[in-house]
């Protein structure tokens, strides 16, 4: 599975949706994922890709990791994976 497919699978599970309902343009808010669901999604992504995502729930907009939509999350993961390699 590609990074994109894995992220969509994680987010779909969190949102209790089918992966086909999640697009690259979807925002977590659109999908009905609340702040607790967001923290859980980030944890699941960290576990899946073995990376650390800088994210503080108190200031999500200031975190050095864009969560504005699924595409941004995928890009952020690719960047962290590249830095790790």
């Amino acid at each position: 599975m590609s990074t994109q497919d894995k992220v969509i699978a994680i987010i779909a599970e969190q949102a209790v949706l089918e992966p086909s309902d999640v697009t690259l343009e979807s925002t977590l808010e659109d999908l009905g994922i609340d702040s607790l669901g967001l923290v859980e999604s980030i944890f699941a992504i960290e576990e899946e890709f073995d990376i650390s995502i800088p994210f503080n729930a108190n200031e999500p907009e200031k975190s050095d990791f864009d969560i504005s939509n699924v595409a941004a999350i995928v890009a952020g993961i690719d960047r962290l994976m590249a830095e790790k390699a």
Binding site: S35, L36, V39, I42, N56, A57, N58, E59
Partner: protein, 402 residues
Amino acid sequence: MKRVVITGAGTINALGHSVAETMVSMREGRCGIGELQFRDVDRLAIKIGGQVRDFEAEGRFNRQQMVLYDRFTQFTLFAAEEALKQSGLEFNGELAAKSGVVLGTAGGGVSTWDDNYRSVYEDGKNRVHPFVVPKLMNNAAASHLSMEYNLKGPSFTVSTACASSNHAMAQAFQMVRSGMAPAMVTGGSESMLCFGGVKAWEGLRVMSKDACRPFSANRNGMVQGEGAGIFVFEEYEHARARGAEILCEVIGFAMSSDAADIVMPSKQGAARAISGALRDAQVNPQEVGYINAHGTGTAANDKTECAAVADVFGPHADNLMISSTKSMHGHLIGGTGAVELLACIMALRDGVIAPTIGYEEPDPECALDVVPNEAREAKVEVALSNAFAFGGLNAVLALRRV
């Protein structure tokens, strides 16, 4: 109904090893938060906390006691000694039979769990010390305190996360007010500053890596603390008859449940607890001069709490002072309301309002007088102490100057 007064107070926390030291630190706006020091701290993302320094338990407690006292029990007994000594009460006969101890803690013996899990999981040992269970149980501190001071009345431990101490003190208050007990020892204790204790909190991603700045627009989360606050609640006539020094009066309390979310706070739940405490105490909102805020420094708490205060007090919200001393001693979780009650006592008895330190930028969503950075002198007749726990459980105490 009986009147209830506080005739003894004791503490240990990151600001001091006594009430006097803690109050001096609060007056000076000193920060007790610093780099954490314990095993494996390098594996944590969060490396700061309000840790108690220079506490030599080995010198205070003997070997038999050390195998039974987790750090949260050690803090409890240390603080209780100061409180009981100040009160001058000795528990014998009927007084002993009727008086008890109600304490709050969220985690109980967290470092005992942590040490022994490490031993069996990481070190592969198949045997633990026989007293692991009595050492880690949440009621260990209350039980040892009852044994130490011969308290044979109603005794138990309350665990409601960050509101544990306020719920515990509310129970003690209720018992003295109803005439069930002439005196109660109460308060709370917490000691979660160990690898597992901080790692668990890290997971929620609500912790700050640099400082606790409640109500400041640039706040970025909470910082954990540790320690204990212990008080003697006594029936007013009983205290007066023996000429005891009265620190302040406890005049009311209220509890509420948000029944909404396991971690997100609710303005309505908080407001119901605050207004309920005022009703229970039979005071007008205009009489309240100071509120010790729950003020965790998280985005979620601070704006919800300020909105709740604005709702309950209306225009008077702009006249009263509200500060969060967590900026100095950190968040003692189940012990926090107990240590924070000291700021209320200082306001009522000494006329000194503890500041919210680390305050850098005004937040329009927290537009109250948060006593930024410097303590202030002011005469206060009535003070409130807020605690709003995970799980949506709220407890607010009301106190009056005597």
